[in-house]
Symmetry: C2
Subunit: 235 residues, 2 copies
DNA sequence: CGGGGCCTTGAACGTCGTCAAGCGATGTGG
DNA sequence: CCACATCGCTTGACGACGTTCAAGGCCCCG
């Protein structure tokens, strides 16, 4: 079922079996993408939404100054551009980080779902707002935390989210980013990100290498980053 | 009419006179707040949404490290916590910056509106997603722009939004923040914000003093900040 | 075997933060 | 009415966190 992972991570409000079936049937087709392939280009009018089934996806914006800012990292079960339904176009781009499989929901079908079910509407709306809450936590990270803590906090977030969908069973999990990507996500330079990663590793908290994160000491890491998962709204 | 300013700034999708009346009638009461008064405390269960009628409001988060990060600045016509309808509680706080008047919408009535009208649902949903788009632009600002440009960009944003609701007729407009607040919004220290403000003033672009912004040279400022209002979704 | 992507490290630099002091305006209680 | 506290703003000196520039290594792939 296409929507299993999504519904596993979004249990509020509860929906009926019929609503669940209606959501599932709104999928018209699936698609695949290769690493670095652009899924949504900024400012392009959109007519469908993309649910990530497999793989990793990033949302980012290129600045006129020539820098790149990653805005979000998506994992399976995330609607990567559900906000395109009310907005009709996005002000940022979306690209695949790995080989990716997605399910597509035409805006017209989403609208039909919102007409039929207030609970389903609330559920979908809520999922876009959890994304926004993550956006805000990133503002806090970039605006008010040191470089090392920013990276540690990001690892905590990804570990927590991946564990939730059963893709971080052990203390090692995939995070298919380069050090440049990590820097673009945290508002640092690649050079400095590299130094801070070494520090986190040498301090025995977390090790990042070739797209994989190994949690060396979860309690130490969590405490160091002052990670509080409330903003992820795991209700 | 309570919802006039909101509807003036949110014209997509178009709604009927009946839908407009239904929205208006969902207001159960109004309330007022004084400067620095907390309107919503983080993590408190909520049962209503707040539409800002008059005055300025901030959304912010205090970090465990003892810093404060402002996440958004709201002006009349903004729903400051419509996202509390699907989320039920917020992970940040909301406080008044000035004397403030608001209209209150119980969650139950919002739900009733979403049941009755898909267009109204889309309109409300959309407004929360424009807030999220602003959040993302702030990520770009804090993560990828220099201190002076961050401030310049914020002034551009506030000027553009205020002009839209007719509260920035001339080149001078109120922005009831202290320099500490500006620093908390842009991820800077008050000392450095002060220096950058002086620089912007001396370069003849924009002057900020005692809660008022004077645009000295709009084209120069806009160009300096590379301000592109697309993310505000003024359709 | 050459090239490119990614990572690593050093050295020098600069933006920005910290600490500290002082100013003017406002407000309040003795 | 003045003494004094508070708040917001301003400025200087100094230092640090993070950037820039540069070079080299490793590995994969054509």
């Amino acid at each position: 079922m296409y929507t299993d992972l999504f519904l596993k991570t979004h249990r509020v409000p509860t929906i009926t079996a019929e609503e669940r079936a209606a959501l599932e049937q709104a999928v018209v087709r699936t698609a695949t993408y290769s690493p670095k392939q652009i899924i949504v280009r900024q400012q392009t009018p959109l007519t469908q939404c993309t649910l990530l089934l497999e793989g990793f996806v990033e949302r980012y914006k290129d600045t006129p100054e020539g820098r790149r800012q990653i805005l979000a990292i998506h994992i399976p079960g995330d609607f990567v551009d559900l906000h395109s339904y009310p907005l009709k176009r996005l002000e940022h781009s979306v690209a695949a980080l790995t080989d990716v499989r997605v399910a597509l929901f035409p805006h017209a079908d989403v609208r039909a779902l919102t007409t039929e079910s207030a609970s389903l509407t609330e559920l979908l709306w809520r999922s876009t707002l959890i994304d926004a809450a993550i956006n805000r936590e990133w503002i806090v990270s970039i605006g008010a935390r040191s470089a090392a803590i920013r990276l540690a906090h990001l690892f905590c977030e990804m570990y927590t989210r991946l564990k939730r969908i059963g893709q971080a069973e052990t203390t090692t999990f995939p995070l298919p980013l380069t050090q440049v990507d990590l820097a673009d996500a945290t508002g640092l330079t690649a050079v400095h990100a590299n130094r801070m990663l070494r520090q986190l590793r040498e301090r025995g908290m977390v090790a990042f290498r070739q797209g994989e994160v190994e949690i060396l000491d979860w309690d130490a890491l969590r405490h160091f980053a002052k990670f509080d998962p409330a903003y992820l709204f795991f209700d």
